[in-house]
Point group: C2
Amino acid sequence: MTAIGAERYRELLSRRAARGSRANYGGIAPTYQLGSGKPDPASFPKHELVVAMADVMEIEGDDALTYGALYGWDGLRDLVVHKYNVLEGLKLERDNVLLTNGSNDAIGLIIQAFVDEGDPIICEAPTFMATIGAFRRQGADLLGIELDDEGLRTDLVAERLAALREAGRRCKLIYTIPTFQNPAGPTMSERRRRHLVKLAREYEVMILEDDAYAELRYDGQPQPSMYSLDDAGFVVRTGTVSKILGAGFRLGWVIAPPMLLGYLSAFNFGGGISPLASRICAYYLKDHLEPHIRELIDIYRAKRDSMLEALQQGLGDTDAAWSRPEGGFFIWVKLPSGTDPQRVSELADAASVGYVSGTMCMPNGGGEDHIRLAFSYDQPEQLREGTRLLCEAIKQAGVGVSSGTTF
Amino acid sequence: MTAIGAERYRELLSRRAARGSRANYGGIAPTYQLGSGKPDPASFPKHELVVAMADVMEIEGDDALTYGALYGWDGLRDLVVHKYNVLEGLKLERDNVLLTNGSNDAIGLIIQAFVDEGDPIICEAPTFMATIGAFRRQGADLLGIELDDEGLRTDLVAERLAALREAGRRCKLIYTIPTFQNPAGPTMSERRRRHLVKLAREYEVMILEDDAYAELRYDGQPQPSMYSLDDAGFVVRTGTVSKILGAGFRLGWVIAPPMLLGYLSAFNFGGGISPLASRICAYYLKDHLEPHIRELIDIYRAKRDSMLEALQQGLGDTDAAWSRPEGGFFIWVKLPSGTDPQRVSELADAASVGYVSGTMCMPNGGGEDHIRLAFSYDQPEQLREGTRLLCEAIKQAGVGVSSGTTF
């Protein structure tokens, strides 16, 4: 077979496609999986999901196995509404909810609906790595703004928006993860949230509020969502089943003003979200939502605390620093001064410990001195051991700079 | 709430989004559903799918409920390979298969990977309505070419390609449904298939072979797929679980040269296809694929014949004409001369019979004198009655032109 080569395809590909291809995840998972934010497998209610499947087949198998509504099955849309209204006191209606193929798909639809090539986009630095890739594919000009303990520095956002306006550039979207920020950890204060919503209104910018972990708060006081603070329709918010039940369903959603749903859905070229997966999920959650979330909170709080303890044991005698998130799945670690990040990577690989390099999370470069750790997947004993091994690797990768030196 | 209005959003939307929003399907389904190509609900193996779910949870529940590989679960990719290799004698490997959210999603990924705004695209006229919408969203310049009993008129394709080259315009994609063409019905002859593949090579154009119904042949001889006739990597082929098991899984695929999968997958902003739905589907099909397809062929052949008979009874005394497809779900009806299509619509609506207007299937206008009927969904008695009622409506909508008049 004399197949045409890569060069030829490149000539045939669309401009967006020419930005690169996406490799299949695969290969052997490391023994200690501190990398991606996978949910705890021990929490999966497998038996109950078989019961849910049997009920779905008996009660509405015909509808579960055929084409569904483009915006998703109303039963699950209603459950999402119920979740927010009960847990957060929102006043959503079904028409605020578009179901998507997980939260990343929701973010992808929003990016496609609002971002053209070359558009300036404000986001946090660091931010969620998958989203950086999605923005880049769309050709966005990502402008990362730093965070502190109160979350995104909205004063710097204001400056940037003013500067962009001055330069005649229209910023149409601000991407933020205000709660248990991924990867840095802080939760944005209410003061900052109100400031950002005010800026959105003033500059007429959409805010994409990525809120995949909203339900998983282990301590501290909840902050109002940006969505709830906005009364002008500038905030769209995303959420997911992945962290509160299982990522294998590929179910997420956008909460948005109703008139926007059609613009977002139009970028879903397929026939909407699985009516089958939606029903299995909803049949389980309708009876178990709140107790299941309470159970998950207990599981993940203990895991977070285990990892924090292991970090203290492993790196407490260095100038390393790490976040203490009130929820979510991640801890953001600043490596001790003088650590060689490449050497950490090699040693961790040898010890079969996975983690995410800080560089992956930076929209405009940098991040070599940070790593992101997930405490969500591994079981407690493995989590402690993996963290211990990683701390050892980090220490071995020190290049002998005396403690206290700063860059 | 003083939400911003549609005007404001339009200013914020991307250029592609501004091409329009997509309404949620919904409302009350008609009593007689001769419109969309939904699979036969009586064929759904509900009990066996519960068994499959129980096996999945027991054997690999942890993997089914977490994130999966971006190109889809290898077990289902292998099953797709097996299906084609056993049923058609192809020599596919796993690396030829990208799983997608149904066949429409596969088509959407291909469109995004190869089509830029303004690109000329050759397709059949009539063609699949959902695909017309996807091409339009991408800003393609759709150029419909007519069909005859041998399928797409490849002589006209050759002329068009030459004219485009002459005009300095690069055509990068030809979209065809060569087998049981939707909606018109013909299956492209091998001679034409070879011609089209030759043209693709000569002009360096990709062929998108939409083959959602390949397995459902009720009579006649199979033709080799375009994919199997191409040895130069210019053909990508799409398929789906929707018609051979159930559309509620939202599972389809692209068969393509391996190096293209990454370019296609990159437009799937979410985390790939549901690992759960993939496994339920594959666990069922691995034991039942061939007998289930045989059963479906018997079901749909009988339904096709029922509808053909009902059309003969209802319109046999007019100059209406209709296709006799050897497979697939649709019959393409040319209305009797002088029929008022608007009146048909009103009368069918009053009788609660759904169908698809031919205008929906035309990429460049026209089609008022045709309708597309699906025989797949309704049960036999209902199918006959729906067809009978529709034929009555069509006759009542005649505007009194004497038989034999042509437009």
